[in-house]
Every structure is written in C-alpha cells, then in structure tokens.
C-alpha cells in the first residue's frame, strides 16, 4: 500500500502547483467526494463501495490535471513560461545579487567617505550585509513570486541565514580587531597618539561595532521571517498530506 509520502510525491509529479494552491484544490475535491459518498450511501451502497464509486467518478484525467495546473499556475511562472530556464535563472540570481549589493553599499559609502568608518571593517561588513540581503531576497522571491520553495528549501535558507549572521559578527569583529591592532602598531612605532587621535579611534570602533550589530540584527529579522515561512509551509504540507491520505482509494477498504 503506498505511503502518504509516496502519494504526495506522485501527486506533486502529476500536478505542478505551489503547496497552498494544491491544498485548496484537494479540499475542493474532498468536499465533492464526501458529498457523492453521502448520496451513494443514501441510495443503499455500503460505505466502501460508495467511496470507490465516488473516487472513480471524480478522479481527474491527466488532461484535466494539466488544465487545472495551468489555471492555477502562479502569475510569474505564466509570464516567464517562454523563457529558457538557464537564462531565466541567471537573470533572477543577478537581479537579487545586484539589489543586495546596492542595498549593502548605500549606507557604507557615505560613512567611509566621511571618515567615520574604517575601510577594513566597512568592506568586510558590506560583504556580509550583501550576502544576508541576497539570501533573504532569494528566498522571499522563491516563496512569494516564483512560489516553488518547499519546507526543505526554507529550512536550508534559515540555516544559511543563521550562518551568515554568525559570519557578520565574527568577520566584523576580526576586521575591527585587525584595524585597532594596525593603528596601535603605528602609534607604538611613531610618536604615539594624541588625545583627539585616540578619541577618533574610539569613535571609529564604536561606529564599526554599531554597524556590525545592525547587520546582525537585520539578519536575525530575516531569519525570523524565514522561520515564520517554514511554520506556514509545514502546516500546509501537513494538511496536504492528510488530504492526500483521505483521497487514497485504498483507505475505504481498510
């Protein structure tokens, strides 16, 4: 007897739809099925026979499934249906990366030009912020626009997000420590620092630390959003599995 997961995989193979639309479709089919089973039972059929007859009558053909999938396909996939997958993927990744790089550089460039943020921590944290924004942007695009991110994809995105937050904190701290170490070396060899110069170093270190914590907090918010998406996706997958099991032709014969 096929398991729920096998039925789910088979259904996914035959009907390429986002999980939410899939569940809505199956809810409709189950409603029709229950109505027909009740009617057949009233006509005197045994429950198992009524169920088998209803399933046979309502089971959609391959053509009907293909037509249903076409109607419910997400707008983005309908608009890009004629584009080669390789080129489309390249364009999608490039767009997400470009937006992330611009968003990461926007606050950094004026701070570096104003001398408030040293270049080494600024460059390191810009890279980390860009990676975080690119990860968040990619999974938001897949979840809301392309609508093809399942629970496993979102969990992978969440783990990557957590890792990138850690990278921002560790690499940012390292860059700041190296900057202070280099400045201390220059002051050790030279005439030593004056009060204003030392205060300037404290101000730079404070700005770099604040920027690093800001990047980390942004990353944590992104991880929380992904976590929310994972919980919603898990609920839909669970409902989808229950619906598929309830529509399993062999269930009536148990």
């Amino acid at each position: 007897m096929p398991t729920r997961d096998e039925l789910l995989r088979e259904l996914r193979r035959r009907v390429q739809l986002p999980a939410a639309e899939h569940a809505a479709l199956l809810r409709e089919v189950r409603g029709d099925l229950e109505g027909m089973v009740a009617l057949l039972e009233l006509q005197g059929h045994a429950r198992a026979e009524a169920r088998a007859r209803a399933l046979a009558a309502l089971a959609p053909s391959e053509e009907a499934l293909a037509a249903l999938a076409q109607v419910h396909r997400p707008l983005y996939r309908r608009l890009t249906a004629g584009v080669a997958q390789g080129r489309l993927r390249l364009a999608e990744v490039s767009a997400v990366v470009a937006m992330a790089v611009l968003a990461a550089l926007a606050p950094v460039v004026p701070l570096v030009q104003g001398g408030r943020l040293p270049p080494l921590p600024a460059g390191t944290l810009s890279v980390c912020a860009g990676l975080l924004l690119a990860n968040m942007g990619w999974y938001a695009f897949r979840g809301f626009v392309r609508r093809d991110a399942d629970v496993e994809d979102l969990e992978r995105g969440g783990r990557t997000q957590a890792g990138l937050v850690g990278l921002a904190l560790s690499a940012g701290s390292l860059a700041l420590a190296v900057h202070v170490w280099q400045v201390a070396g220059a002051w050790q060899r030279g005439p030593g620092s004056s009060g204003p110069e030392a205060l300037r170093l404290v101000a730079e270190a404070s700005t770099a630390t604040a920027f690093m914590l800001g990047v980390a907090i942004l990353g944590v918010f992104g991880a929380l959003a992904l976590l929310q998406g994972i919980m919603v996706a898990r609920d839909i997958e669970r409902e989808l599995g229950e619906l598929v099991e309830s529509l399993n032709p062999r269930e009536g014969r148990r």
């Binding site: 890792g163 202070v180 050790q188």
Partner: protein
C-alpha cells in the same frame, strides 16, 4: 609573521590545539558530506571548535590587558608607545581566535551548501 604568534603567550598552545582539531573536523565533515554520510553533529562540531578558539582568544586578551596594566604600573612608565604596544600584544590572541571562528563559520556555510547541492 612568527613574531605575531610568539607574542601571544601561554594561551597560544591551547589555541593551536583548537586550530588543529578545527581543520581536522572540517576535513572529516567535508569528506563525509561528499560521500553522502553527512552528520549534523559532525558539521556543528566545526562551529564548536571555532567558538572555542574565539573564547580562548578573548581570554588571552583579557589576561594580556591585566598583565600589561600591572607591568606598566610597576615600571611607572605610561608613555603612549608602551601602552599601545601592550594593546597590540593583548589583541593578537583575539585576532587569532576570531580568525579560527571566521574560518569555522565559512566552512560550516560551505558544508551546508554541499549538503544542499550533492554531486551527481
């Protein structure tokens, strides 16, 4: 380069041990992932060794600052070059520890990517 490591004091030895374990664990986790035998415990232990390296580094810096402050007070020499020299020495263990932690995080991200994109 060797001077940078030599000035780290006694804390450098447990940091070298953490570094060796980190590199070995990265190699083991990567080999296991390539062969499809990945284990989340083995991947996570990379982060544990990196975190240990960072903590040892911070410990070394705190101890270093404490010793430098004592030495400066005892010698009654508080000229800025002496102070900044002490800061530089104390920071070296933090820098090494953070290098280990950053390496661990980058390796962990790479291992996660390998798990999501298996060969073949």
């Amino acid at each position: 380069m060797w001077g940078f490591f030599a000035q780290m004091g006694v804390i450098q030895w447990p940091m070298y041990v953490a570094a060796i374990f980190l590199v070995v664990q990265i190699a083991r986790a990567a080999a296991g992932t390539r062969q499809g035998r990945e284990s989340s415990v083995s991947t996570s232990s990379v982060l544990v060794w990196g975190g240990l390296g960072a903590l040892l580094g911070i410990l070394g810096t705190v101890v270093g600052f404490s010793q430098a402050a004592g030495a400066i007070a005892a010698a009654s020499d508080i000229s800025p070059p002496v102070i900044w020299g002490g800061v530089r020495v104390a920071l070296s263990t933090t820098i090494f520890g953070l290098m280990l932690l950053t390496l661990a995080v980058v390796a962990w991200l790479a291992l996660q990517w390998m798990r999501g994109h298996p060969k073949g």
